[in-house]
């Protein structure tokens, strides 16, 4: 289960929104560290479990903050798209965000997203065996993935997606099924979350053209067959 005091880093430039979300998240039982700029946010990552990141920031924008957090680690990121703009969503997901919410943020929606990403990081599958798929080694117990013996740094969402797909090699999973299984989005999620995450995952573990995660046009994705 999610720890009662998960640490949320809130990066939001508008003081009223920052205060409002700070209040709402605190009441939901999170420890909240609220900062104004991307630079302050990058300096305050220690001990943080999840980042809630506004994309429209003065100075370093949210996309850049996203990329920098991704470059150094696998911390879950939930972005807040100020406009709900389709371009922003795609760019943010490409920059490495795990999920997004649209401004004005409903605290209940944000809470559900935070719980979902934290669950991805915390849950172990309970399995202990190590699977091998070609060059790829997936340790389901330790939640470690190696490629040609080298550990690959995957965000919790990327790891969950890989575990979900590789759990049934050769079986096609639709985007909606993956959204439900990995993102807890129910039926009406945004399938671009899946597409963007597959792209990031491929860039870390796959070759070109993809061997492990294959696109089945019109249906979804499939792990292998190798």
């Amino acid at each position: 289960m999610v720890g009662a005091m998960s640490q949320v880093l809130l990066i939001e430039d508008d003081p009223a929104v920052r205060e409002g979300l700070h209040l709402a998240l605190t009441r939901q039982g999170h420890g909240v560290r609220a900062v104004e700029t991307g630079e302050q946010g990058l300096a305050a990552l220690d001990g943080v479990d999840v980042v809630v990141l506004d994309l429209m920031l003065p100075g370093m924008d949210g996309f850049e903050v996203c990329r920098r957090i991704r470059a150094t680690g696998t911390l879950p990121i939930i972005m807040v798209t100020a406009r709900g703009d389709d371009m922003d969503v795609v760019a943010g997901l490409e920059a490495g965000a795990d999920d997004y919410v649209v401004k004005p943020v409903q605290p209940r929606v944000l809470e559900a997203r935070i719980r979902a990403v934290l669950r991805r990081s915390a849950e172990s599958t309970g399995a202990t065996d190590v699977e091998r798929h070609g060059e790829l080694e997936i340790d389901r117990g330790a939640l470690v993935v190696r490629r040609a013996g080298e550990p690959v740094a995957l965000s919790p969402t990327e790891l969950r997606l890989l575990l979900e797909l590789s759990g049934a090699p050769g079986r096609v999973r639709s985007r909606q099924q993956l959204l439900e299984a990995v993102w807890d989005h129910g039926f009406l999620g945004d399938s671009r979350l899946v597409d963007a995450c597959v792209q990031r995952l491929r860039s870390k573990i796959d070759s070109d053209p993809p061997r492990y995660i294959q696109t089945v046009r019109g249906f979804g994705y499939r792990f292998g067959p190798l």
Binding site: K103, P104, Q176
Partner: protein, 428 residues
Amino acid sequence: MRSLRARLILAFALLGGLTAAAVAGTMYVRARNIVLEKAQSAAVAAFTEKVGRMTVLDPDELSDRDSAGMILRVGRPPDGSLGLDVPADLRTRVLGGVVAWQRVIDGGQPVLVIGMRVSDVEFYTSRDLGAEEDGIRQLALLAWLIGGCSLLPAAALALVAARAVLRPVRELRGAAGRLGDGDLGSRVEVRGADELAAVAETFNAMADKLAKQVADARRFVADVSHELRTPLAAMTAVADVLDEEAAALTEDAGRAARLVSRETHNLTRLVDDLVEISRFDAGSAVLTLDEVDVAAAVSATLRVRGWSGLETDLAPVTARVDPRRLDVIVANLVGNALRHGAPPVTLTLRDEPGRVIITVADRGPGLDPAVLPHVFDRFYKADTARTRSAGSGLGLAIARENALLHGGDLHAANRPGGGALFTLRLPS
């Protein structure tokens, strides 16, 4: 005569006809005079020469037997040997001592009668002008024929000219019609530098200005909506706190807290819808198609919003649609039916070749025929005095925009048994 084409053709035909008639008429008169005068002078010259030769004889010996004429002693009555009457004024002039002639009609034929007096003898002769008259008649016929034939090319020219004028006019009309129907990109091609080209240029300039004004107005709405979002984001974040604490407040403060919370959510929805419709106006709405189990998606739409008690008939259909947009459409249609119609609300899903069809019907009073064409208008209120409804006033407009974005359509009508019926068609 209202058609410009007909008027142009008539004008060209009239012009052609009048010109042909004037040319042919002038030619006819001129040719006729020349031919007749030539025949007359020849006849007169021959007559005077002949009379000159005859007068060397004794008048008493003169005989008209070989002269095809009549010879009279002055004062005697005509003896009929000419075969026709000598007009009285011709005889008067002859008696006056001049060589005179006159055309008369004898038995329907034009005849020239020539007379002269030498001392006390009058000489008359006649010459049939039938051959000349025939020639002239043929000339006249030919003139009319040529004039008539020239009408055809005149009409053809008129058609060409009419087309040259009418094509730009027709294009202009089409462009203006499209502009009126809301196609702000409607323009006409400017050809040449004539008056019609000037009209086309003016039209394009007008359309540019109109498009700019509309774009400005829409951008303003979009900007305002975005500006409203930031304070709303702060209010939305804490609205739940008000709800949760309302019970612990005094009665008035609690009611006020709930009111602020509820209206914050309503305002948020209105601004969300404004931003959404602005995105359609700006053309920045993007379709994210996916292979979707439509029946499951529609069921999820109802489940997520806690709507139950609907009569559903959902065929198992899979289609390539944008699931989020499908959710928006169905939610708006069902929400509208639940708010304005009477239960039971019926939701059906079926597929036809190439498309899926979703209908939402209710058993309420249906839509007023006067309202029907405006159902999808923004902020359209069936009753101007009606108070603000629970919806933003944009729901059906957004639903329709989403249907159009899919390349489908959304149609409103009344059920034969009463109640409103909305039909959504999406390409599968």
